[in-house]
Each structure stands twice: as C-alpha cells, then as structure tokens.
Symmetry: C3
C-alpha cells in the first residue's frame, strides 16, 4: 500500500480549511479510505470514491476535534466490534502510521476479546498477524502476558463488586466471578493502554454494536480519565461513518445525558 | 450459475397457487436460494434444502404482496446491513435478473455506506465488482459521482435541520454537519434511486440490524413516496427469512404503529 | 488439528479444582481455544493466549454448572447468530468431540436459519461441509428433510396462533402464515433436537445478537422442558466470553426476571 504525505497538498487544494496542525501533528493519509483501491471502489460506485476523497479523507479525519491517533483507536474498536477483518487490515496500517503503537494495537484486540467477544478478537488477530510480519514487529514489542498491573482503586472496585454481586449474584455466579477476574482485577489494570484510551475503546465498541445503554458508565469513566466533552461528541460523528448513521443517532442522546449530568 | 425460467413449471407443479403474473412479470428463479448449491446445502441439512425449495423459492418470492424487484432490493439491503458478502454475490445476480438495474445496485451500496457503515459497503463492492465484470457492466452504466440532484423540499429540510440542530448540536456539531452534507443535501437527493426505493432500502437495513425504533421516521417517508401498507407488512415477512424471526417480530410492532398512525 | 485428552493433566496441574466428572464425562480439550493456533494468537496478543489457557480452557469449559456438551451447543448457536464461520469450524470439531452428534449439529444450523437468518445458516453450512467430509460423516447420519414430527400440543399451539394473529395479523399476514408453517407446525416439531436443546439454541442465539427482550418467552419454554436455573445462569457466563460482556449484562437482568417469575 502506498501512503502519501498529503497535508500540504490538501491545504493548497482546499484553501478554506484551517488545519489545526499542532493538535494533529504530521499526518500520513492513505490514497484510499479502504482496503479496496480507489479504482475498485469506482468500478461499482463512483459516488463512494468521491465521498471517500471529499468527506472521509479530506474532512472527517482532519477535523481537529479528535486527533488522528484517537480516530484510529476509535476506528479499530468499531471494526473489531463489528467483525470486519477486511477493512481492519487497512486500518491497522493507518493506525500505526498515525502513532498508535503495535503494543496498543495488540492491547485493543485483547480488550475487545472481552467487550466484543472472543471470536471477534480472533478475526482481528488473523489479519494483524500479517501486518505485524510485514513491518517486522516482533514479540518484544508486544505487551507481556502477565505484566505488573496498575494500582487498583480499592474503593471503586469494592463499589463495583458489591453492585455486581447484588444484581448478578443470584442469577449467574459465574458471570460475577469472571467479571471480577479476569475482567476488572486483571484486564482493566493492564498498563499497555492508558485508562482513558481503554475506556475510549470500550465506548467506541459499544456505540458500534448498538449497545448504547451501556455507554453511560464507560463514557463517565473515560471522562474521569481525561476524555473531553468535545472529543466525546466527535467520537459519535466519526462512528457515523464507520458504524452507520443509525448507531450514531442512538448513541448521541446517551452521550448528551452524560455530558449534561457532568455539567451540573 | 444456471438460472431456469421456472414460473410455468411451478404453476403446473403447485396447481393451487394463483400467481399474480401482472405484478410480477416474468420471473427467473435460480436453482438454489443461496450461493451454495442445493447439493452443498443437502450435505449438511437436507431440511434446509427442502425449506429453500418449498418455502423460500416456491412461496415467499412468489407472493404477490411485494414484487420480485422489491424483494431483491429488500434482500440486498438486508445482506449489506448484516455484512454477508457470500450471499450478497448470489443475490446481486438474482436482483439483476429481477429487473433491478446495475445503476440501482450501485446506488443501494452507496446509500448503505451511510446507513449500515462504510466497511459494509466496501464488502459489498468487493463482490459486486466480480458480478459486474462477469456481465460486462461498465462505468457508463453506473450513476455518476456528482449528478444533478433532485429538487430539495426546502420546508421539510428546514424542519429536519432545526430538529437535528436542537437535539444533536450541543453534543456533536460534527454529526450535525455531516448529517446535512453529505447526507440530506446530497445522498438523499441523488436521482439514481427513486425516493420510495431509497426509503425502502433504509427501512430494510434498519429492520435487519435490529434498529427498529428508527423505522418509524423512514417508513413514514417511504409511504409518503408511494410504498403501500400491504408492501410494508410484506417487507417484514421477507425480512423474517433473511434477517431472522426475532428482527421481524421486533419490527412488526413498530410497523403497526406507523400504519395505525396513518389510518387515522 | 490435534486434540489431547487433558482432563488428567489439568487435574494434576491445577490441583485445587474439583472436577465434576460425572456430569462432564471424559472431555477432550483442544490445544487452542480458536481456529488459530496458540502460536498465532501469541504473535499478536500474548495476553489472549494466557486468558485462553487459564480462563477459557482450564476454567470456563470445565465448570460443572453446564456440561461440555451444552457449552458446545451454546457456542455453536452464538457463532451462527453472530456469523463467525472461522471460529465455527473449530467449534464444530470441539462439539463433535464433546458428544454433540452430527445430526444435532445439522439441526442446530437448520433451526438458526429461521432464528438468526438464512444467510447465517449458509455460512455455517459452508464450513461444516468440510468438517463432515473430513470425518466421513455422510447423508445417512443427518436428520431427514421430512421426518415424522413430534406430537403437537394443540392447546399451546392454539394460544400461540391466536396471540400472533391478534398482534401481527392486521400488519403482516405473511409473517403470521410463515410463523405457523414452516416455523411452529414444522421446524419446532422436528425430532432431531430435543425440545429443551432447541430452546437452548434459541436462547443462546437471542443473547448473542442482543435481542434480550425475546429471551423471556424462549427461556420459559426451555425451563418447561428441563433446563435448570443454574444452567440458565451459566449460559450467560459462557456467552460473556463468546458474545462479549455487554450482551451478557443485557441478558442477565432478563434471565433474572424469568427466574424470579418461576420461583413464585
């Protein structure tokens, strides 16, 4: 796949758009917004080739409300949640070019094995393996199986455990057990993703699979760890393209409730 | 793939069924209801080979409540929404045989890039490209990237824009912007699908992905543009087979509300 | 794929775990919890290789609350519902090793053609065909297309038919018709799956696709036919791994309502 440094070219071509270079850094844009080439897309839909160029590449990915790195994290999470390995391959390349590390790609897949389901993670691994091999990424660049964990906030964890035991304990003791370990006592405390990014991955996955009621808890957690209101709103706009407008509209009212709740 | 003109054969074989030939026109039925051959299906499930023959091909697709062309549009939309490229390939062939034009197939994919998500459209393009090549369908038969748009109903658009700005503006300005352009000021005004068919595609996609609450608005729009109540009910029956009974039952109560609302 | 009889090895290795051998029988564990090898998984996520070993294979699948045979049925249903043929291939092998018969695998696919949608069943057939060929499973081991059906409970069926006619009849006569035949008068009465297992398949599929509101009816039916409360709770824990934590948490409250309703 060829990549072009297009920031300068777009600035000249579009003129009216003021790029917030400081927030975005240098951005390497692929020629196509897909694993398919522009020519492939045009052979079925000339319109989608145009929308890709004008709206996805020259506009959406360049909006300063969310960094290209964050957009890549959101996109990877959406594609895993919706089990779309063909486009995932392309977007792993874009993500690595946008500053997401191989360790973070690995950890996003690990996290979503739990939040999007084990088989979705396996599909993502099958294609990521090839990208890592192409780029010479080896085991020493990946997060270890059993790292030193981040310190646990004992009080928050006790509240979580008490609530889950009360609600789930009488129905599914197994779900209570596995939600504690490996989920909250292990996975969430792994240091390979910052807590803010781990919550960003979770929120993006929930929006992408139409599970918007569960966005409330995880978006709150993301914002406690530094995600801004502007970024939260822009995740929804980004998800509209990659998970479809209906999922974005289902999510936006839930995101609104969280933002209004925190503004008080 | 072999296709047989089976209308006469079925009439003789089934006897009791009165075909509404006038609404259906000549109908070319494939030998199998799948990309898989009848023999492939039988090698795992003899029962599904029978259901395919008796219920899907000889009954569902021949019911006069919805034309074969409309059934093909509904089926393509469902398969894109659920990202099922293997069956999509087969159904593009069926659709072209049922009178859906190559330009309409192209435009259905373009439309669902927005309603089902960009990656779903890319999967559909990958398989459609091969069908188009097999049939010698070339670029001049596809809708142009930037056609003259249908005239905009300024008043309806103003109402839509005001409502979205009020509900979404404070949360996600990006979503407001992209919902105006490219969505409602461009995509929805493209002439390559009639407004009734564009809404039919949208409704089918929403039913197929379990987003039934958003059916209300788009079914109303479809009926404003000529979809009948009988057709609306039959879309749900057709979706039961291609998107599963639970999605059909989730949709039917929403469709019922819309029909009762319009009967007043 | 190599399979190892690992029960003894795990007992020695883990020590503290008391296996309920009587409920589980001899259990053949695969080396990997995926179509991917342990080495493939490690090349992208060493952590997931560890979770697979410690949590999925040595813990989840060995918990006595649900037999390995039932776990395989639940897993197959989840994978069909979510259209994941790559992992399905692996799990058909595991299921056959866990005592699910080829006839039952065939019938699970047949059933989910209706509950998860026709194209999902076709994907499952495409990969199952290869597994059956590898194992020398032939047509005479599969359920016939038109067997003698189980006796129908006329009263229950009359109640069902009256309710569907009242709710769906004025909206979609086609859906009423097909829900009677082939669904309730034919598919549900086929003898190749016990009624308890057919409901288990349906419930698992509904949980896996986030259609938890429809779990109520089918879980009640499963429990009428012998599924225990402990098994119901453990299905949710199992589904957390294979369909993701959010679907499990959406399902658990519905399962809880059913259990409390029956405890009165």
């Amino acid at each position: 796949m060829k990549h072009l440094v297009m920031a300068a070219a777009f600035s000249l071509a579009l003129g009216e758009r003021a790029f917030a270079e400081d927030r975005r850094g240098t951005m390497t844009m692929p020629e196509s917004a897909s694993s398919l080439s522009v020519k492939d897309i045009e052979s079925v839909s000339p319109a989608l080739a145009r929308y890709a160029r004008e709206d996805v590449l020259a506009d959406l990915w360049r909006r300063p409300q969310l960094s290209p790195r964050d957009r890549s994290i959101v996109t990877l999470a959406i594609l895993i949640a919706r089990n779309q390995p063909a486009e995932f391959k392309h977007q792993v390349d874009v993500a690595l070019d946008n500053g997401v590390t191989a360790a973070e790609v690995s950890e996003i897949i690990t996290h979503l094995a739990f939040y999007a389901g084990w088989p979705n993670a396996m599909s993502a691994i099958a294609v990521t393996q090839a990208v890592f091999a192409d780029r010479g990424i080896t085991a020493d660049q990946l997060p270890p199986a059993s790292p030193s964990l981040l310190p646990l906030n004992e009080q928050t964890e006790r509240q979580r455990a008490v609530a889950v035991e009360a609600n789930v304990g009488p129905i599914s003791p197994g779900l209570v057990k596995f939600t504690a370990d490996p989920l909250f006592l292990d996975l969430w405390q792994r240091p390979a993703l910052k807590p803010r990014d781990r919550s960003l991955v979770t929120v993006s996955s929930l929006i992408a699979s139409g599970q918007s009621t569960q966005v409330t808890y995880h978006l709150g957690r993301a914002m406690d760890n530094g995600l801004t209101a502007e970024e939260a709103g822009e995740i929804v706009a980004h998800a509209a393209f990659y998970a479809g407008w209906p999922n974005a509209f289902s999510a936006v009212s839930v995101v609104g409730e969280v933002l209004r709740g925190r503004a008080k």
